[in-house]
Symmetry: C2
Subunit: 360 residues, 2 copies
Amino acid sequence: MTARIFNFSAGPAIIPESVLEEAKENLLSLGSTGIGIMEHSHRGKAFLAVYEQAVARCRELAGISNDYEVLFLQGGASLQFSMVPMNFLTSGQTADYLITGVWSEKAREEAQRVGSVHEACSSKDKNFTYIPQELKPGSSPVYTHFTSNNTIFGTQFRTEPTPAAGSFLVCDASSDIFSRPIDVSKYGIIYGGAQKNLGPSGVTLVIIRKDLIERGQKELPTMLQYRTHAKNESMYNTPPTFGIFMMNLVFGWIIKQGGLASMAAKNEAKAKVLYDYLDQSRLFKGTAQADSRSLMNVTFVTGNEAIDQQFVSEATKAGFDGLKGHRSVGGMRASIYNAFPHEGVVELVKFMRDFEARQA
Amino acid sequence: MTARIFNFSAGPAIIPESVLEEAKENLLSLGSTGIGIMEHSHRGKAFLAVYEQAVARCRELAGISNDYEVLFLQGGASLQFSMVPMNFLTSGQTADYLITGVWSEKAREEAQRVGSVHEACSSKDKNFTYIPQELKPGSSPVYTHFTSNNTIFGTQFRTEPTPAAGSFLVCDASSDIFSRPIDVSKYGIIYGGAQKNLGPSGVTLVIIRKDLIERGQKELPTMLQYRTHAKNESMYNTPPTFGIFMMNLVFGWIIKQGGLASMAAKNEAKAKVLYDYLDQSRLFKGTAQADSRSLMNVTFVTGNEAIDQQFVSEATKAGFDGLKGHRSVGGMRASIYNAFPHEGVVELVKFMRDFEARQA
Ligand SMILES: Cc1ncc(COP(=O)(O)O)c(C=O)c1O
Ligand SMILES: Cc1ncc(COP(=O)(O)O)c(C=O)c1O
Ligand SMILES: [Mg+2]
Ligand SMILES: [Mg+2]
Ligand SMILES: [Mg+2]
Ligand SMILES: [Mg+2]
């Protein structure tokens, strides 16, 4: 078998090897059923057990109370950008959006198709290199939307912002979901595509307060109403069964890591290796403001595009894949989600140190 | 390894064993990349090669000209029920719907949220046991929607209906897509979830005429406009990469079977084994009218619910899984899609013959 290399992809991203091994074992027969995981009816006992376990593990990990539904949807975070305003914003009403990156802007654009949007803060003035400390809430927004981790710009909220009184908090947690403990009770809706911390692309985790589901618009296409999916336990139509199976395995893996608090400790230690190196390096420099740094996506540059390119190309040859930064930031980005091994960051830093020495 | 059993599930459904084996080999490393298929960035070379091959094979198999786009979307056929009218039906306009089962009715309901619908035919009078021979088209419908194979009721159009002049044909082909040759040039849009004939659930194949894409509504949520996905080669947001990978393998498998004409011949021979037996059986009886029988879903009853139940339960124990009929028809349903082996139907008929003898 081909040796696995260090995969710094921003998403789809690395999945724990033990999870992939378990998936492998169930492809031709889920347990002893004689039918592969992808071939089971979503209405049959075997898949329903997978689904139930995925919901239970999700609730256990994040301490999700019965006031919330756990849904597995299709369409990615991008469809949630539309579903949230379509369900909760009627024209004439306003929602607050915290603008901390390209994904926040895309979320806002979809809300603007439906109602009014107030920009409660923005870090666009400095190319999204920081998380604003202060909010200027609008007057009675229905909800307050923010992006907990800005995948492209390498910034992350330390903790959730406080929404305007009377408004509920909506979080696009695509790129840091379940990377640290989360107090779900502070949120109305948390959503994220699986493809960074939770599994393969094609399934979107949505955690939503039950009273909101009821308040949602009723005139929408059936598939775009949260109540449709809540009433039918994510099986109004055929769900992405394999994606749910994978997410269930990843939840099991996080539990084995010790849960979200332990995951957070590992992620902090892991990111620190890279940030500590960046802070003392004379060649490389982190692009995000120190107090806003993401533990998931570490963005850095040399300040010289040609050297950046040379670095990415040499790193790729040395088995460090996916380090090229997003075109809107340039430079490099190391995505080091939950499943990314500590050792991989240590090896990267060694390689960077060598590269730096060779440049001197 | 657990022996595989005969899986008659209506969807998610059986996948060719060679395809599952190939998937297995690529889970931890796609080819020699050192990164598993689910872990590759959708923007990287390795996945793009998979995507390109999937499109090319799809075009090759169905002889799809450059006037059409091939899209891989999320949300299942159920989201297409809404996307089609949202893009093409404005209030005041009418679309024709051919009502041949529960799925046609669901498609119509979503259209009714958007515009007017004319029922061009219906077989509801006889619990959808047949395909109506005659259409009564509405006056200048924008499009004509039909369900080529009625998964629940076991009926199938022999060939596509002729839409009213000036209207384009839209087909929900979820349960017989690529089971036989299709003259794509007669259609405006063909869509189907992968989970019956093309792979796992979570990816939806949409074949759509390019001039229609341009005509689509522009005020819709970005993710619900076909132009978004066409412009971005199905990668406006993160596509279900593993689903596309699987579909590509299934396309490859169909090509190895000799393509769609050869697939159709196999499917005919396979279904004939079961229908021939049903026609001479004194215990079992097909529920669909002979001229409307589906080659994909064979529905049958004994006429006695208790015996139906006994049959399903004994069959399950004997390793024939998923034979219980949908609750709206009762009795039994044998779903025998492309990947279902001929030998499985032969074995089932043997088992039915035995059962019948024991009942006598
Ligand atoms: C923070 C964030 N939000 C949203 C998205 C878009 O997600 P999807 O591709 O699942 O629609 C991404 C994807 O990278 C992201 O990083
Ligand atoms: C003919 C037909 N149309 C539509 C659907 C719904 O498809 P999905 O579950 O992909 O939304 C099905 C599912 O069984 C079907 O058989
Ligand atoms: Mg961003
Ligand atoms: Mg430095
Ligand atoms: Mg039907
Ligand atoms: Mg008979």
